[in-house]
Structures are given as structure tokens and as C-alpha cells.
């Protein structure tokens, strides 16, 4: 049933795109553009699909980037026999979520220069260090790689170079996985259509990730009425402790 629905949608998108003008020859849609983190949230898998006006050999690259913010990379060193965090570098505009997907190796689709200029690829993002960080260019690369490696490990960053499926040079689809530890905010989705290293068309969309239900309520109360929240947490514990004592006294 769900598959049938998707096929109909794809057909609809396809017809729509063939009729449209040349400037807008890439259309895309998401199976879900509003992700709610509620008490039973285990992550989300979103279908991204659409149509493009392509010829054999064209490529599609999808970049989904979450809210940007401060990310600290720490380095451990051995001090008196114990491994201790001794150095840190702050990155001020690192995306807290990043997913790059394409139909084949990005290095084959784009040359080095285009990758750098368009900031496509895990190591081509323009992530800035906090002003005042004083390290050599060579060291900078080590830290930058450490950032990428650790973000990949936490599943918040991902690179999937064979996940965009193309069909008859007209349809594409891919899945965007949001892990359970995904940050909240507006996620920008960029779909790029390349031909011989040149951008033919592009489309943008957004995914809104927000907390909802009980889990959102609790989070908001903990943030906005933090002292009351703490007192309530204690009272709840007191109550439960007291009740169990009464119950077990009777047993």
C-alpha cells in the first residue's frame, strides 16, 4: 500500500516535471518533512525522491545539513600515566548533522576544484575554528580529520556514495537516516544535478526536527522552570519511596 502510494507520487512528480519549464527541471519531495521526537523516537528514515531532466551519465548529489553550532574537539595525552584531555579546538559553525549522498563516488562526479568551491564532501566543508586558535596548517588538518572521524562514528555525519538510485535519467530516490541522537532544528536539504562537473539544476527543501509530546514538555520545563523541575523530581522520588514502603510493610 505504502509502495503503491510512493509510485503514484513518483509518477505525479514525473509528469509535473516534464511539463515544467527549463529553469525548474528538478523537483523533489520528502516522505516526511516534519520529524517529531516523542517518547518512542528511535530515529527516522525519510524517503527523498523526485525527478530531473537528465541524460545518460548525469549525477545527483544530495546534501542534508542540520543546524550549525559550536563543536569542540579534544585531544588526550598521557599525563602521569593517565590519559587526560589536554588540548581542545572549538569549531564555531560545524553542522551538528550532515548527510551526503550520491549515485557514485563524488570524486568521479566532481573534480577537486568544484568539490572545494561547492563545499561538497566531508573534508571540504568550510568549518571555521574559533578566532584565536593558534595551530599550524599541518596540525589543523589532523584536528579537522579528527572532527570528521568522530562525527562519522557518532552517526551524526554520514557519507553514502551509492545510495542515490537513478532511474531512466529522470527519477531519483534515496533515504535520509536521522539517528536517535539527532539534534533539533531546521535541516536544509539540497539536491544537485551535475553533468560533466557542471551544475545543471538544483532544488532545496527543509526538514523540521522538533521535540513533541511528553518528551518536549519535560525538556521545556527542565529548561525554563529548572528549579521547580528539580523540586518536582525530588518530590516524585519521595512519594514513590514512601508508597513502596507502605506497600511492602503490608506484605
Amino acid at each position: 500500500m505504502k509502495n503503491a502510494f510512493q509510485i503514484i507520487l513518483l509518477l505525479f512528480v514525473y509528469t509535473y516535471s516534464s511539463n515544467s519549464s527549463a529553469e525548474n527541471n528538478l523537483v523533489a519531495d520528502l516522505s516526511q518533512d516534519n520529524v517529531k521526537i516523542s517518547t518512542n523516537f528511535l530515529g527516522a528514515k525519510i524517503l527523498l525522491f523526485g525527478a530531473y531532466d537528465g541524460i545518460q551519465g548525469d549525477d545527483i548529489i544530495v546534501v542534508v545539513s542540520g543546524p550549525k553550532g559550536l563543536v569542540t574537539v579534544q585531544k588526550k595525552e598521557k599525563v602521569l600515566g593517565v590519559w587526560v584531555n589536554t588540548k581542545k579546538i572549538n569549531y564555531i559553525n560545524a553542522p551538528k548533522y550532515l548527510h551526503i549522498a550520491s549515485n557514485r563516488d563524488i570524486n568521479e562526479i566532481l573534480n577537486y576544484k568544484t568539490r572545494k568551491i561547492s563545499e561538497i564532501g566531508l573534508n571540504n566543508l568550510n568549518v571555521r575554528m574559533q578566532p584565536g586558535e593558534n595551530i599550524s596548517t599541518k596540525e589543523e588538518e589532523t584536528w579537522r580529520k579528527a572532527l570528521t572521524r568522530n562525527m562519522l562514528k557518532s552517526k551524526l555525519w554520514s557519507l553514502d556514495e551509492n545510495s542515490v538510485k537513478l532511474n531512466k535519467n529522470a527519477l531519483f530516490r534515496t533515504y535520509v537516516a536521522l539517528p536517535s541522537n539527532v539534534p533539533t532544528g531546521i535541516f536544509n536539504v539540497k539536491i544537485l544535478h551535475y553533468r560533466n562537473n557542471k551544475l545543471i539544476s538544483k532544488e532545496r527543501s527543509t526538514i523540521n526536527v522538533s521535540k513533541s509530546g511528553m518528551s518536549a514538555e519535560i525538556y521545556n520545563i527542565a529548561q525554563n522552570y529548572s528549579t521547580l523541575y528539580g523540586i518536582f523530581a525530588v518530590l516524585l522520588a519521595v512519594l514513590i519511596g514512601w508508597i513502596t514502603n507502605i506497600i511492602f510493610r503490608k506484605i
Partner: protein
């Protein structure tokens, strides 16, 4: 069934947490101490960020402590005067502890300090407890039960502001329990423990309190230290996960009751021998983690 923790911001298996809670509660009920110092490392091992683990465990400790105090109170095993003096130090200490906790988190050394404190205190207390209970086990086996003086007098007992604690049959300086409470309070806030495993030996060996009163009285003061830590952690750092804490405490309050029913089955010194072995093993495990080279020297912290 998975449940999403709103503050830790990750899903966790609710039955696993209930199970861990009841196991820890069982040990607490059996031995009288040892909730937090096992629970906090387990939570961190399950991937809960250490600030959230420490604060939420403090929250959950309130419930089994209340439940335990009520049982001990009925048996007349709580010295409320001593408990109150201890908790004055404890509340002060845990407040200092939360401030220190904040500072350490800011400079990025919180994990290290938590782990190092665990190694130091667990190994000291574990070894002392092991030696003591081993000696008792061996002595009883020989059939010689010697009763020495009620307690040793040291310079600690010469401090000013002497007060009489009728219930504990003590006439000691009020500064000593306040100081003990203070130190334990600081550790409680940083390590996410009630501090029972430190305060119980301190009450026996430093204050010279009768053993029958020690557990009830320490539980009494833990309620207030844990409550103070919870409220301060919630208001200062927003790290108390009420869902995690409630799941843990639902397990632990039941476990405590079951555990306390088994106290007559096992002998006290045997229990302490088992517990001290666990404590030593846990401390060795954390020590190993600290001294082995991490697979990646770099790590990442995503700020809010």
C-alpha cells in the same frame, strides 16, 4: 520497549533500566550501601552522558533512601540528631560539589575527575572493607570473638563544640560529623553517589557509632544530600533526566525491599566481603580504562 529520554536525548530500553535499578536496589537492601557508585558507572557504560548520569542517579537515590529510612525508623535504628548534624555538612558539601562540577565541565576535565575519584575512593574503601570483613570471617571461624573498646580515642575527639549524641552513646565534637558530611557531600555531587559507602565506614571507624545505627542514619542524611544535589543540578545544569531517574527508582525501591528480606539469610561479614570484592573490581576496571591508550586520542563534544 524503548523510551526516549528527554534530557539525555537518546532512547534506551526501559526494561534494561528497570532491571539495572532492581539489581542495584537489591544490593542496597542487602548491604545497606552501594547504590550510586555502581549505578553511575553502569549508566555511563550504557552511553548516558556523564553529567546526566550523575544528576539523575542522585535523583533516583532519594526514593530507596526514603523507603529504607522508614523501615529503619520503625526498628529504632536512626540517630536523628547525628543525622541532622551530618546533613548540615552534607548539604553544604553537595552545594560546593555542584559548583565544582560546573567548573570541571567547563574546562573539559569532568570525566577525568569523576573516573579518578571512583578509582581512588573505591579502591581505598574496597580494600579496607575487604580486610575488615575477611578478618571477621576468619576470626569467627576460629571461634574467638573478642570485644575491644567501644571506640578508639584520637585527636579527632579532642576538637571543640562537644555534644552528646544520646542515641549513639557518643560525646564528641560536632565539627567531626559536619566535616565528614561536608567531604561526602562534595563527593556525592561530583560522583553521583549517596556516599553511603564512604559515610558508613567513617561513622563506624571515625565517629565510633554503634553499627546498628549506622545504615539508618546514613540513609537519613543521604535523602537530603541527594535531594539538594538533584535540585541544584536541575537548576544549574539542567541535567536531571526525570524519566531515567523514575525508571531507575521504580526498579530500585522494589529491589531494596527484596534485598532487605534476604539480610537474615546471609551473614553481614560475608555480604561485605562480596561487596568489597565488587568495589575493588569496579575500581580496577575504571583504572584500566584510564591508563590504557584510547583507540582514538581525539574526541568530540557537541555544545548546546
Amino acid at each position: 520497549m524503548y523510551i526516549y529520554l528527554p534530557i539525555a536525548e537518546q532512547p534506551i530500553h526501559s526494561l534494561a533500566i528497570l532491571g539495572v535499578g532492581s539489581l542495584i536496589g537489591f544490593i542496597m537492601g542487602l548491604v545497606g550501601v552501594g547504590g550510586g557508585f555502581l549505578l553511575t558507572p553502569i549508566m555511563m557504560f550504557l552511553g548516558i552522558p556523564s553529567p546526566v548520569a550523575v544528576a539523575s542517579v542522585a535523583n533516583q537515590l532519594v526514593a530507596p533512601s526514603i523507603s529504607g529510612v522508614l523501615s529503619h525508623w520503625k526498628k529504632g535504628n536512626v540517630d536523628f540528631k547525628m543525622g541532622t548534624v551530618l546533613l548540615i555538612g552534607g548539604v553544604l558539601g553537595s552545594s560546593i560539589g555542584v559548583i565544582l562540577f560546573n567548573y570541571l565541565a567547563k574546562v573539559g576535565q569532568l570525566d577525568l575527575v569523576i573516573r579518578a575519584s571512583y578509582v581512588i575512593f573505591l579502591s581505598i574503601i574496597g580494600s579496607l572493607m575487604f580486610v575488615e570483613s575477611m578478618r571477621l570471617v576468619l576470626r569467627k571461624r576460629k571461634g574467638k570473638i573478642t570485644r575491644g573498646k567501644l571506640h578508639q580515642h584520637t585527636w579527632l575527639h579532642g576538637l571543640p563544640f562537644k555534644t552528646r549524641f544520646r542515641k549513639s552513646k557518643l560525646y564528641i565534637s560536632i565539627l567531626l560529623p559536619i566535616l565528614i558530611g561536608l567531604i561526602v557531600g562534595v563527593l556525592a555531587a561530583i560522583m553521583g553517589i549517596g556516599g553511603g559507602f564512604i559515610i558508613v565506614p567513617a561513622m563506624i571507624y571515625l565517629l565510633g557509632m554503634p553499627t546498628s545505627l549506622v545504615v539508618g542514619t546514613s540513609l537519613f542524611q543521604i535523602i537530603f544530600v541527594a535531594a539538594n544535589t538533584t535540585i541544584l543540578q536541575a537548576s544549574q545544569n539542567q541535567t536531571v533526566d526525570i524519566v531515567l531517574a523514575t525508571l531507575l527508582l521504580l526498579g530500585s525501591v522494589v529491589g531494596v525491599q527484596i534485598g532487605s528480606k534476604f539480610t537474615n539469610v546471609l551473614k553481614g561479614e560475608h555480604l561485605r566481603l562480596i561487596l568489597s570484592t565488587i568495589i575493588i573490581l569496579v575500581s580496577l576496571q575504571i583504572l584500566t580504562d584510564l591508563i590504557t591508550m584510547p583507540s582514538d586520542l581525539f574526541s568530540v563534544v557537541i555544545r548546546k
